[in-house]
């Protein structure tokens, strides 16, 4: 396997994690027009929860399930306390509120767990290399889990009644309400799905990149959000595609930019975002709205 394929694979691996987070952003945004900056921090919450549960119970499966459950509780509490009272406020107001929630979560965990980097160690099985390159069993796990989750969530959205209600609310929440859809129920469901995906993404990310700290979620969250916007926020497939694209671009920028420009990796990611928004204001796969102000 040559260098290009290797970096493409590690890009896809990072991209899968971005995709999982971006889908959560996208689902919530589709219904509430809310950019939930605290979404990235849920990933950090999940990592800490899993870390503690692994240390306590020695069981990986239990730790993953427990961390997903804890993250869902966090997501729901945030929705109930901070976002629901602001349901009718302007989108900038909710945006700043989510920033405040993000700062709150980061500092809460910083207070409890101190700001130092911790190591998230999984059994040796996961770090075994395949084919003598930097692709490990963990990468396979990431691809498989991401694939399954994306399939499951897209089935839920496309085939179930709840999914139909979600799509109706995303289309026009006022009209959906009049049709007897319980908006609060749909929002809660969106937060449950989003938080669960963020939790899985958190465990996968920390399993792969080992080191974590209370402020890890923010930058990943912002990048995943950029991914969702590039793909067309509000569109499910767009978020997944945007995530993969951004992950690949980020790794390729780091590997292939000329000497000295590699350090601009993150800046280039956002340059891509700005260019995509200029050329296609609704993202690559997004649908044009009448008036998205």
């Amino acid at each position: 396997m040559d260098f290009f394929t290797g970096s493409l694979l590690s890009g896809l691996q990072l991209g899968s994690i971005y995709a999982l987070i971006a889908i959560g952003y996208s689902i919530v945004y589709g219904i509430l027009r809310l950019i939930n900056f605290a979404h990235g921090d849920l990933l950090m919450v999940a990592t800490y929860a899993a870390w503690i549960l692994i240390a306590r119970s020695q069981s990986l499966a239990f730790a993953v399930v427990g961390s997903v459950a804890i993250t869902i509780v966090f997501g729901l509490v945030i929705e109930r306390v901070a976002y629901r009272p602001l349901r009718d406020a302007g989108e900038e107001t909710t945006l700043v509120t989510s920033l405040a929630v993000s700062i709150f979560l980061q500092n809460l965990f910083l207070m409890v767990f101190t700001p130092k980097n911790q190591a998230f160690l999984l059994p040796d099985f996961f770090s075994q290399k395949i084919l003598n390159v930097s692709i490990t069993n963990m990468s396979v796990v990431i691809f498989v889990v991401t694939g399954i989750l994306i399939a499951v969530v897209s089935l839920i959205i496309k085939k179930t009644k709840l999914g139909m209600a979600m799509r109706a609310c995303a289309e026009n929440s006022g009209a959906a309400k009049l049709m007897g859809i319980n908006l609060n129920g749909v929002v809660i469901f969106a937060f449950v799905v989003g938080s669960a995906l963020a939790a899985v993404a958190g465990v996968l990310y920390s399993g792969q990149y080992v080191s974590f700290n209370p402020s890890m979620g923010f930058m990943i969250g912002i990048k995943a959000f950029a991914a969702a916007v590039i793909g067309g926020i509000g569109s499910f497939a767009g978020a997944a595609a945007g995530g993969l694209l951004l992950g690949v671009l980020e790794i390729l920028f780091a590997c292939y930019l000329p000497q000295g420009a590699g350090v601009y990796q993150t800046a280039f990611v956002f340059l891509v975002l700005i260019i995509v928004l200029l050329v296609k204001p609704n993202g690559l796969f997004g649908v044009a709205e009448e008036r998205r102000s």
């Binding site: 900038e92 700062i103 956002f270 975002l273 928004l277």
Partner: protein
């Protein structure tokens, strides 16, 4: 009474001009330097907040990039005021032409603002074409790009290590003067035809365009003006802290400016005062508790991040309670400071007579209305009951 009192020019003068001036005099001459720095920081924050309010509140461009302009101002200002020897020793590889430039503080401030304004024009072309959320995220991208540039051009900025050793030019009188001039400029701007056009664009850009307002151009002007004053704030900040690094002008800085702006009320200039006051002073008080303290014999361990936690909770509560910030859309403070009727009013005799009457009226009323204390009321009830029983 309260309404008439608040409308009285003499009252306005006393509360928004005379009292703060006296307070500043006392602080300047009597208070220890550490506390003076906090007050200077507050005034710099007022400039930053007011400049952000021009875009976020007045014209409806929700920018999250103010820290980026602040960084540009801080670096440009510092590079212009430092002496050649200092620059060569602190920044290895600085180009010779730049090392030899040294300006007095105020011209350096203005040029720093102009550099940021130029950057705002460059960023404005792509960024201002987006709307709402998209624009906000693009401005976030902007501060990431600015930080990457500052981090990696070490022959200009000394990279991630930053620059230190600027002289402390940002003394209390200087910062106060700059704040007043900046606020006055912004106040006149919002009261002009331009200000009314901004309000029109905020409420409906399409309708404003149909009335012949060039929304794109006005957005750009507002963005550039905001960047200019953001950079002035940044340069003042650099010459107060005397050390700058790219990581100081990143997300947390931008959020604290947004926090001030939203807490005080985005769509007012007056909001800059309460907003900056809360965000500057409350963490200073809470910082005492962060290192751990004793209460009732219990040792409370160090609480890192306490002030950020408290501030974010306060922030969410204020947003939920008052969408328009604590000023709730009122421009009272700035109007009272700069308004024509304050300054012409204090020259009229009638103002003083009115003021006196309002105060006396207030006292008279308070004599007529004598609030009973609870014990007195209970005593009266008992007396009545006894009478009835008899």
């Amino acid at each position: 009474m309260a309404k008439r009192l608040f409308a009285n020019p003499l009252f306005k003068f006393l509360v928004t001009v005379a009292a703060p001036l006296i307070a500043l005099f006392c602080i300047y001459f009597k208070v220890a330097e550490y506390y003076q720095i906090v007050v200077i920081l507050f005034m710099i924050n007022v400039i930053l907040t007011a400049s952000l309010n021009i875009t976020n509140g007045f014209i409806g461009i929700f920018s999250m990039g103010q820290a980026g302009f602040m960084a540009i101002g801080a670096y440009a200002g510092s590079l212009l005021t430092m002496s050649a020897d200092l620059k060569i020793s602190r920044i290895p590889g600085i180009p010779e032409w730049l090392a030899n430039v040294q300006l007095p503080f105020i011209p350096a401030l203005i040029i720093a603002g102009m550099v940021a304004a130029a950057a705002a024009v460059i960023f404005g072309f792509p960024v201002l074409r987006a709307k709402g959320h998209y624009l906000a995220v693009m401005t976030l991208g902007m501060i990431i790009i600015i930080k990457a540039i500052l981090d990696n051009n070490s022959n200009l900025t000394n990279g991630a290590k930053g620059i230190s050793g600027m002289e402390r030019f940002s003394t209390l009188p200087v910062v106060f003067a700059v704040m007043i001039v900046s606020l006055f400029f912004l106040y006149r701007m919002t009261k002009s035809a331009f200000g009314r056009s901004m309000a029109a664009i905020r409420s409906d850009a399409d309708a404003a365009s149909s009335l012949g307002i060039n929304a794109t151009k006005y957005r750009m002007i507002a963005f550039v003006v905001s960047a200019f004053f953001g950079a002035v704030g940044g340069a003042l900040w650099a010459h107060l802290q005397q050390t700058i690094a790219p990581s100081l002008f990143y997300f947390s800085r931008t959020f604290s400016i947004i926090e001030m702006s939203v807490l005080g009320g985005m769509s007012t200039l007056s909001g800059a005062f309460p907003g900056a006051a809360i965000v500057t002073f409350v963490p200073q008080i809470l910082a005492n508790f962060e290192n751990g303290f004793k209460i009732f014999g219990f040792d409370v361990p160090a609480l890192n991040g306490l002030s950020a936690i408290v501030m974010s909770i306060v922030f969410i509560l204020v947003i939920i309670k008052w969408r328009g910030g604590v000023t709730r859309g009122s421009e009272y403070i700035v109007n009272a400071m700069f308004g024509k009727d304050t300054w012409t009013g204090i020259l009229r005799k009638q103002t003083y007579i009115d003021f006196w009457n309002i105060l006396c009226g207030g006292f008279k009323n308070s004599i007529h209305y004598h609030p009973h204390t609870i014990e007195e009321k209970e005593q009266e009830k008992k007396n009545e009951q006894e009478k009835n029983e008899q």
